[in-house]
């Protein structure tokens, strides 16, 4: 009987093995090592299909990193919505990855963000200086903004006015190599003048604000406002009154500086002009 059982068991086993198909093998594409970096770049480009910060975009960037964890751009793409939405830790974490893998491309951009979104002037300066060291004999323009100009703002905010003026002058001189003075943004003269104002060098501040206004054909509420404040310090209330009236006029015409996503440094506001004008009534 034992032999019979053994025989039947073997027969059953054979039958099972022969009559059952193997479990279907699931398809898995073999992506050659040589093409993984290119695929990562393509997936990054695919962010154009999606609104920034969506789940789809996040998953796409994670996929790009799977193929090339040294690709800096997915980190930057993941950081960008965090910056704009107040997710401070995520900005920092992701941008660290972008700068680590491509400092020439992204260190200046991070400096820009430290400056405008976080008012972290020391970190911004450190990034601008590090980028400058990586690209000697060349002035970088991360986010289309000169690092000389942004360094000037950092020093202005750190109350190192001599350094601020030095950097704004370097920026002006650098720009004058390729464009006429009228093409230099009014903010440069505004901020340089404010640095001089803070030093209580009223005459120098006035000259700088007026220089900026000449370049801009008078179309700058910000420069008129700070000229008004300087005239007041110089003891010229009538000139101050005229200047603030000009500031209000230019403001109403839309000639004031502002910035997408964040408020500008020394941005001028209508109510601020009204309050200041009230001093001269």
């Amino acid at each position: 009987m034992n032999k019979l059982n053994c025989f039947h068991s073997l027969a059953l086993l054979t039958l099972l093995l022969q009559s059952c198909q193997p479990k279907p093998v699931l398809y898995q594409k073999n992506i050659p090592e040589a093409s993984r970096k290119a695929l990562s770049r393509q997936l990054v480009s695919g962010h154009q299909f999606h609104y920034q910060g969506t789940v789809s975009e996040t998953l796409l960037m994670q996929e790009a990193l799977l193929y090339d964890s040294t690709n800096a751009v997915p980190y930057r793409e993941l950081a960008a919505p965090a910056v704009k939405r107040g997710l401070t830790k995520d900005f920092y974490r992701y941008y660290q990855g972008a700068v680590r893998h491509d400092p020439i491309e992204w260190q200046g951009w991070r400096g820009y963000l430290y400056l405008y979104f976080y008012h972290d002037y020391e970190r911004a300066l450190a990034d601008f200086q590090a980028l400058d060291a990586l690209t000697p004999n060349f002035v970088d323009y991360p986010q289309s903004t000169s690092i000389l100009f942004m360094s000037g703002i950092c020093y202005l905010q750190l109350e190192d006015y001599d350094q601020a003026i030095l950097f704004f002058d370097r920026h002006i001189n650098e720009e004058l190599k390729t464009v006429e003075e009228a093409y230099i943004g009014t903010e440069t003269f505004l901020f340089k003048g404010i640095a001089q104002y803070k030093q209580k060098d009223w005459a120098a501040a006035k000259a700088t604000f007026e220089r900026g206004l000449r370049n801009a054909d008078g179309k700058s509420a910000d420069l008129w406002f700070w000229l008004s404040r300087t005239e007041a310090e110089l003891g010229n209330p009538e000139a101050a009154k005229t200047a603030v009236a000009n500031a209000q006029l230019q403001f109403d015409r839309g000639y004031y500086h502002d910035r997408t996503y964040v408020d500008e440094f020394y941005q001028t506001y209508r109510e601020q002009l009204e309050d200041w004008a009230g001093h001269f009534e």
Partner: protein, 376 residues
């Protein structure tokens, strides 16, 4: 007796295993069956991941996106084909049957958020495995638009992909979108490969506007796909209404949570009325510096502004001045939270003239309980 029992048990168990584990008859007819996943996979459901590569004329750059598709055989003996977006949410479902080599569409539904668009099928044959030609004609109405699409299979031939037998279909796709004021036409040539054991292996499209191709990356069980759908991700800035701080419990959205836009979407951006100057004027008189003692870092309140200009759904986000996780003294959070929730001069949110809701945030940058800046 024991031996007999053993004998019977062995055969009984074997029979059960045979019935439950072994091959069941094909569920799709030939010659179609060979070019779809195995019957066991179709019954359990199988999902496939694709890369969609896109190129514009005159541009060398390729944009690649991720798409998914699933096959599942249903109780009505139909094949349900579902397409999914990059975020693994469904965007299209078709029910098809197979008769004499013809793949016929019974239902074609598109999903856009919570909206469902069902197409009217005028001619249902998508593909023909037994001859060169097939025609599918569909119409649908979406708002002011009437859409009509025609897909013609013009050729079918045998081929090989990765050493697998496959069928290559090619044809043309034409669509027209008609509104009261305009008629938009689009046409493209397509080719499509169904490979043994896989189903849709790849597609290619060519039009005067773009060229695109679909490349199969992997197959997975539907169970695995469903696991991946539980990724737990939300869009950046999402605020879960269930976890908000207690301010403004009566706050109501004008739209839906999934429709909330970002503060920089409208033109101009949403700012506190009067900008940071007015914001400071509102905040400064309320600030009690003794309640900021021991606080340092970025204390951010994220919230939603609705179409009435009311703020609600407040949530806290904190980081120290080195951008690392931190916590703030409870008194500081309560104090600044009360001030922030009490700000009332937000402009009503509109997008293209329609009522909208927007995510916004306000950050207090505090250094050693003293220096305070408002960001952004």
């Amino acid at each position: 007796m024991n031996n007999l029992l053993y004998f019977r048990l062995m055969w009984g168990a074997g029979l059960c295993i045979l019935l439950s584990q072994c091959t069941r008859p094909a569920i799709l007819p030939q010659p179609v069956a060979a070019y779809f996943p195995a019957p066991t996979l179709l019954r359990e459901g199988v999902a496939q991941k694709y890369y969609f590569h896109y190129q514009r004329p005159g541009h060398s750059e390729t944009w690649t996106d991720i798409n998914y598709l699933s096959y599942q055989w249903n109780d009505a003996q139909e094949l349900v084909i579902t397409n999914y977006r990059t975020d693994l949410t469904p965007n299209r479902m078709r029910r098809v049957t197979f008769e004499e080599g013809q793949m016929k569409t019974l239902e074609d539904v598109q999903y856009n958020g919570t909206d469902t668009l069902r197409k009217t099928l005028l001619q249902p044959v998508m593909r023909n495995w037994q001859s060169d030609t097939a025609t599918s004609v569909k119409t649908s109405t979406e708002g002011i638009f009437l859409d009509r699409s025609v897909e013609r299979q013009l050729q079918r031939r045998d081929t090989l992909v990765e050493n697998r037998p496959a069928i290559l279909f090619s044809g043309v796709y034409e669509s027209v979108r008609i509104s009261d004021s305009d008629t938009l036409r689009f046409s493209s040539a397509f080719s499509e490969i169904y490979a043994e054991g896989i189903g849709l292996y790849g597609q290619a499209f060519q039009s005067d506007r773009y060229q695109g191709s679909l490349e199969l990356i992997e197959q997975m069980t539907l169970q695995e796909f469903k696991r991946r759908q539980q990724h737990g991700l939300e869009r950046a800035a999402f605020i879960d209404p269930a976890t908000v701080l207690g301010y403004r419990p009566d706050f109501k959205l004008c739209t839906r949570t999934e429709d909330i836009i970002d503060y920089y979407n409208p033109d101009p951006d949403i700012h506190y009325r009067g900008g940071k100057y007015a914001l400071w004027k509102a905040i400064k008189p309320q600030l009690k510096t003794e309640l900021l003692k021991g606080a340092s870092g970025y204390l951010t309140f994220r919230f939603v502004i609705n179409c009435e200009g009311e703020a609600g759904r407040f949530i806290l986000e904190t980081a120290d001045l080195d951008f690392q996780p931190t916590s703030f003294p409870k008194a500081t959070v309560a104090h600044l939270g009360k001030i922030t929730a009490g700000l009332t001069d937000w402009p009503p949110v509109q997008l293209r003239g329609e009522p909208a809701d927007a995510y916004a945030y306000l950050t207090y940058k505090i250094q050693e309980g003293e220096q305070i800046e408002l960001l952004p």
